[in-house]
Subunit: 337 residues, 2 copies
Amino acid sequence: MPEINIRALAKELNLSIGTVSKALKDSYEISAETKRRVLEVAKKLHYAPNPYASSLRRKKSNTIAVVVPEVADSYFSQAIKGIEEIAQLKGYHVLVYLTYESYAREKQILDEFTNGRVDGLLISVSSETCSTGHIEALNSNKVPVVFFDRAIDETDAAKITTNDYDSGYEATRHLIERGCRKIAYLSISNLLVINTKRMMGFRNAMTDSKLHVDDNNIVNCSNDDNENNRILTEVLKQKNRADGIISSVEKLITPVYTICKQLKLQIPADLKVLCFSNLSTAHILNPSLTTITQPAFDMGKMAATVLFKAVEKRNYNWQDENLVIPSKLYIRDSTGG
Amino acid sequence: MPEINIRALAKELNLSIGTVSKALKDSYEISAETKRRVLEVAKKLHYAPNPYASSLRRKKSNTIAVVVPEVADSYFSQAIKGIEEIAQLKGYHVLVYLTYESYAREKQILDEFTNGRVDGLLISVSSETCSTGHIEALNSNKVPVVFFDRAIDETDAAKITTNDYDSGYEATRHLIERGCRKIAYLSISNLLVINTKRMMGFRNAMTDSKLHVDDNNIVNCSNDDNENNRILTEVLKQKNRADGIISSVEKLITPVYTICKQLKLQIPADLKVLCFSNLSTAHILNPSLTTITQPAFDMGKMAATVLFKAVEKRNYNWQDENLVIPSKLYIRDSTGG
DNA sequence: TAAATTCACGAAACCGTTTTCGCTGAAAAT
DNA sequence: ATTTTCAGCGAAAACGGTTTCGTGAATTTA
């Protein structure tokens, strides 16, 4: 839509298009005086180069894509903030896509990226994603992919993750130390690697303490809130109910608290609760919530940093980059302070 | 980066480039049989058209920009979710930019949009923004602008907002009904229109109830957390302290709760608290928080819907669109249930 | 049967940049 | 004085689509 393009600029300056282009890019071929004139007139006419013409010619879009399952979750909000900060610093643009935990959407979105729209991709896979052809297709198309948070181990790409196994173990140890013997573990998808790792940490911590894991206490929730309420109510109502809960998913904490109130279960007296979460309000909840908190902002920043290095430096093996930024346990009242 | 472009496709099919292009767009000029062949081979070769070549020629990017002050806030996360949903439905791409409440950044970002990068803009202005030349420049450049949440009244653009004045009034009425007589009002920037409107509602509600507004109880906070802690501590420590607080900003609720705990102020007994907020955890806080909640998701969806209408239909006066979607008061324990 | 119309496709201009290559005149080297 | 170098710039070919316009054959109409 800009009525003034480089041609108009050139005409105004009595210069050729090529010269103007080079002047704007501060090319050594152009004299200082000419550059000065060009910049001056460009500013006067509010010249703004067409990014798509430039992208077409250079085969470079200065744009990256961020694909995440959702954004209501506070983890992804913070991660995106980290990503955007670095991108703005580097002069890149950020396209955001939500998959709503659907593999089909994820694939559909990624398939669109084989055409040069983006120079790189940051992705946290959907909970349904197990095959990775759509991701490898990008890698082989020379668009670097960096996983953050939810990675796929087998795929040859950079990964910025957190120590999910250790966190699961640590969370469980914490509950055990606080006297829990029957601990329930809540998850959403057991396809999700971060979940299986956390769960593995949970199981091993239990076993190491000679505690039994009841199958009823491995609880698979869904994406449907009503369904989850039903499931969780059932879990918390069963005789011989758990005395501790680890939620591997932030959004399950609301139903857990709500149902406990309904069932008149006291936290932490009757039930100790711990949640993997980035909620800024964790310590003003009722009771304040013990969390394993992921370094969302830093993970976003690191993921973006690695991606830009991959985009800008050729022959840099970004695929080998495998950063693990540890999560942190914040002990609060829901597990007895 | 895609080794296969429309030329390669055409060669494979023994057709001209133009014909292939038209076949892919389902043009009436092309026979059914040819279209079938083209689609078939295109799929076989994983042909993906270069979006920038297309954008360049059509002068249309199928991309919109969303410019918001931040994203850690739950309002904007939800709004973005609504926007992205509509965009995906319409086949548009969404660029996200954060201004960090800085006018300079906002201007810098918007100035980049006069060149066709985006077909439209959704913006919630920074708290520093009062002049609007950068926005009008876009409007006059034929890129439609839709404000959401934080609009600027004087600017001729579509606005999707909520009833800030009424909400401020209603919030105040609620506190008064619950027995408050000295109410403090917390804000961040008094340049922000939504804030001045809420505050006006607050003031009028007070006056209408013959209550005095103490200047000390109009509290301007900053973007610095430590600073805010200092300010709020001071406010809550003063003799003749307020018996009610209205926070017009979500992020101030954490310091308020924290400081109350430190000062051993009981909510709601000593102090009733109400917050403009979209926190999903409001009702499991300690105590559960009375909120004025904005319809973030719906506002995002509406804003996007209006924008796409503006983008797609010419001679549609989107500037006149002025939707007000009401916020809702959720009464919880922090104001006495 | 001749003329008009329709159908299906190809040729080529075009979108706005970037970049290569070539040209010119002046300075430097021989 | 002649050749070489070089600074500074212009011409033109890309980049990969879209779109206008033209064309020949097939079909319809007069």
